[in-house]
């Protein structure tokens, strides 16, 4: 078969015959290896422990429900107090009584 003689054809033949570059089959650089492994770890991490995410979601929901129930019970307890001490309104009444008595003229005091 007759070879094409256009300069481009001659150029392409010459280029194709060029010896390969020296580092063409070099080993994988350490930096490249680490970058690839890091990228893979980053992508794989959520799938490594697939049971953890639903468990955390359920625990969070249970904790929220428990907090609501405790809050509700505390609000509706018989003494209307979370801590079990007397309600704050009783203390105010005592204070108010002291003030009222202090304002009463001394000759009317019991």
């Amino acid at each position: 078969m007759k070879q094409k003689t256009h300069p481009l054809d001659r150029l392409l033949r010459s280029a194709a015959a060029a010896p390969p570059r020296q580092d063409e089959a070099a080993a994988v650089p350490w930096t490249l290896e680490q970058r690839v492994l890091a990228a893979l770890r980053g992508q794989r991490q959520p799938e490594d422990i697939p049971w953890l995410a639903p468990l955390l979601r359920q625990a969070f929901a249970a904790a929220g429900a428990l907090a609501i129930v405790v809050g509700f019970l505390a609000f509706h307890s018989p003494d209307n107090s979370v801590t079990g001490f007397a309600p704050a309104t009783h203390e105010l009444a005592v204070m108010d009584q002291e003030l009222t008595l202090a304002l009463v003229p001394t000759d009317l005091k019991p």
């Binding site: 481009l8 150029l11 392409l12 010459s14 194709a16 063409e24 089959a25 080993a27």
Partner: protein, 195 residues
Amino acid sequence: MTDDELNVPECLARVRRGDEDAVRAMMQHLHPLVMKIIRSHRPRRLEEEDLAQMIYTKIFTRVDQYEGLMPFEHWVSRVAVNTCLSALRAESIRPEWRMADLGEEEEAVVANLASTAGELDASVQAGSRELVEKLLQTLKPEDRLVVQSLHMEGRSVAEVQAITGWSAALVKVRAFRARLKMRKSLERLMKERTT
């Protein structure tokens, strides 16, 4: 384990289980192939290592998509070529080379082509390759891939079809169009040299 002894199916199974030693061994096995593709189809502004990372990450994250219908190396070639094509498409500016942009070796090749009608001397082969790489940069990514594969790597049309998934007619049309554009670029350089 040396690369020659690498049992690809067994290594692939370990890669799928997330074994990092298997990933390392597979990278070592694939590196010459991947680097050859990168050096043929790398955009000018992207570092080899960055492109290699993109390719390897894609290979190992999508390894479950490999069904074993073709050799693993063919599948890897396809992933690598498609990644390079995407990167080349992102590089919207294609240069138009002038004689002033060429190095000494490339200038010598142009002079040689203009002065003789025979085959180029073996001493200028490296310069020829540099010049061809510059001319390839002026082409569309798909055209560049076809010329590189057919003329530089000596692949057949069928092999290019296997890598790209294009029809034989499309490969031939792209090759014809690309050669035409390269001819014009080269002729302009040769004309510029004589004026």
